[in-house]
């Protein structure tokens, strides 16, 4: 801590110090005597200016052993900050001293710390007396486990939360209705509800209302469209197989739409939610489109009460069955995807309140 370390030499005690200085004020290789005039060279800032001299081997050795006078040491210290060659020369000289073995030990432990994935809860870089890394008894999380859980985070709140339960319940309820209560139009009912379930999933997965970490995420490179698409994909990956399988085990009735008939409408509506969501936010978009779909499917039923399940089936047939209907949904999906591509940058910033 003290400056007195290794400074026994009086002024001018190091005749070799200014060797190699191209502009010695008096052509004198030693320190000049007290000089009342300014130096002949303009005092430019130290960094980036051409350095007027380099460290000689003798200077490096005298610094390494701690015997260089204080002011010589200062010159050398400032110089090696900006001169890699001299830094290497001085470092080599220090390695040749008694500090050599210690430097090698530190080198080994730094490289160990750098190349080993750390399983330590303590501070990285803490050394025990022998210079080895101190390891805590507790192990770290294995890599594959970390990766698996990262997938789950990406999937987002929906897949881990209430929405997941809702999807399973809808599927289970349809099956229970068909086989438990003998309800004949269970598949139609399921098909009527299925396309809006992914929308609900998107609404509870992404955006300021759904995601408590939305604002933190919005400041990251992945927090925008990439996260939204990841979560949408997770929502679809859960809802598509579950609902399609549930539909397939239900009695279809003659002429009714097949169990997979909801897929294209579901995809189109999901993409429409994302596209509309780029303007108004995902929750509002999902709400609007879900309402529109349910009105289209169930509106006529509400308008003609007491006529049983047949009108629902008829409307579903109109909306889902046949090449024309499915073709229209496919075209809608393509249009929405195109719009989403055009609007992709809008997810970079936070969605409107």
């Amino acid at each position: 801590m003290s400056a007195t370390h290794g400074n026994p030499t009086p002024p001018h005690g190091n005749p070799t110090h200014r060797d190699g200085n191209p502009t010695p004020p008096h052509g004198n290789p030693t320190f000049p005597p007290l000089n009342p005039t300014p130096p002949p060279v303009n005092p430019t800032p130290r960094r980036g200016s051409p350095t007027p001299w380099h460290v000689t081997d003798a200077q490096a050795a005298s610094y390494a052993t701690g015997s260089a006078p204080e002011t010589d040491a200062w010159s050398l210290e400032k110089h090696v900050e900006s001169c890699g060659d001299c830094a290497a020369r001085v470092s080599a000289a220090v390695r040749a001293t008694t500090a050599g073995p210690e430097l090698a030990a530190i080198r080994a432990s730094i490289l160990t710390a750098a190349t080993t994935p750390r399983a330590v809860t303590g501070r990285l870089g803490e050394l025990d007396a022998r210079g080895g890394l101190r390891l805590s008894a507790r192990g770290g999380v294995p890599h594959f486990a970390a990766r698996a859980s990262r997938l789950l985070w990406a999937a987002g709140p929906a897949v881990r939360g209430a929405w997941m339960v809702a999807v399973v319940l809808v599927g289970a309820a349809a099956v229970a209705l068909a086989y438990g209560a003998g309800y004949g139009a269970a598949r139609q009912a399921l098909l009527a509800v299925a396309p809006v379930l992914p929308l609900a999933g998107v609404a509870v997965s992404y955006g300021r209302h759904a995601d408590p970490m939305y604002e933190i995420g919005a400041s990251t490179p992945s927090g925008g469209l990439r996260l939204l698409l990841t979560r949408t994909a997770a929502v679809l990956a859960v809802s598509v197989p579950l609902l399609t399988a549930a539909g397939a085990v239900l009695p279809g009735g003659s002429g009714g739409p097949g169990a997979a008939a909801w897929l294209l409408p579901g995809l189109a509506l999901t993409l429409a939610t994302l596209a509309l969501g780029s303007f108004v936010g995902c929750r509002a978009a999902a709400g609007t489109l879900s309402t529109a779909w349910l009105l289209a499917v169930a509106g006529p039923v509400v308008g003609r009460p007491g006529t049983g399940s047949l009108p629902l089936a008829a409307d579903l047939v109109r909306l889902l069955s046949g090449a024309a209907a499915q073709g229209a949904w496919a075209a809608g999906a393509v249009v929405c995807a195109g719009l989403l591509v055009l609007r992709r940058r809008s997810f970079d910033l936070m969605e409107p309140r």
């Binding site: 801590m1 004020p25 005039t37 800032p45 002011t71 200062w74 900050e81 890699g84 430097l103």
Partner: protein
């Protein structure tokens, strides 16, 4: 993190090494260590008598480099390394004396023009003789503030003296330097 890589650049150049370290290249870290650890060790040893602390600080410095080479924003790698090492040293000494309370005010570093003048003088030797004449405790304050670029507070921690003393010694050191050099040499140094 630098944008452009000039063509024909030496792959072992410090900046290139730091970029490689930022990518997680342990070999580059080793090369960087071999180039800079020696002088850093010697420089730390001149400022701290306890070999244990020096070892910890040096280790900590390169661990920091490994973690945050990506934050290096150009400039001299050696100077950057020293900034890290000096801060670590101050922190290590602060941790050593638990009684130290956080002072209320972080003072501004000394005026850069004065630093540069002293340093420019150093390079050409005219200040060196004068520096050798001033007392060791004034010199160690100058070394910490001017050569090592520490703030008044950090200097106080490093040397274990109050901040007020650092300030008054820095003033005295400069006054004595100016007297020794004559008004023409360092007229603006105040």
């Amino acid at each position: 993190m630098r944008l452009l890589r000039p063509t024909g650049e030496d792959p072992d150049d410090d900046a290139a090494l730091l970029r490689a370290v930022a990518r997680g290249d342990a070999q580059a870290l080793a090369t960087l260590y071999d180039r800079h650890s020696g002088w850093l060790h010697a420089r730390l040893t001149r400022r701290c008598g306890d070999p244990e602390t020096v070892r910890e600080v040096l280790q900590d410095t390169f661990v920091t480099v490994w973690r945050s080479a990506g934050t290096h924003r150009g400039g001299e790698a050696g100077g950057w390394l020293w900034v890290i090492a000096a801060r670590r040293l101050v922190d290590a000494l602060r941790a050593a004396e638990r009684t130290d309370r956080m002072p209320a005010v972080a003072p501004a570093p000394p005026a850069p023009s004065a630093e540069d003048r002293v340093l420019a003088g150093l390079e050409y030797g005219d200040v060196g003789a004068a520096l050798d004449r001033i007392s060791p405790e004034l010199r160690e304050v100058l070394r910490a503030t001017v050569v090592d670029g520490l703030t008044t507070r950090e200097t106080a921690r490093l040397l274990g003296i109050p901040e007020g003393t650092v300030k008054s010694r820095a003033l005295r050191a400069r006054r004595e330097l100016r007297a020794a050099l004559g008004p023409a040499a360092l007229g603006g140094l105040a």
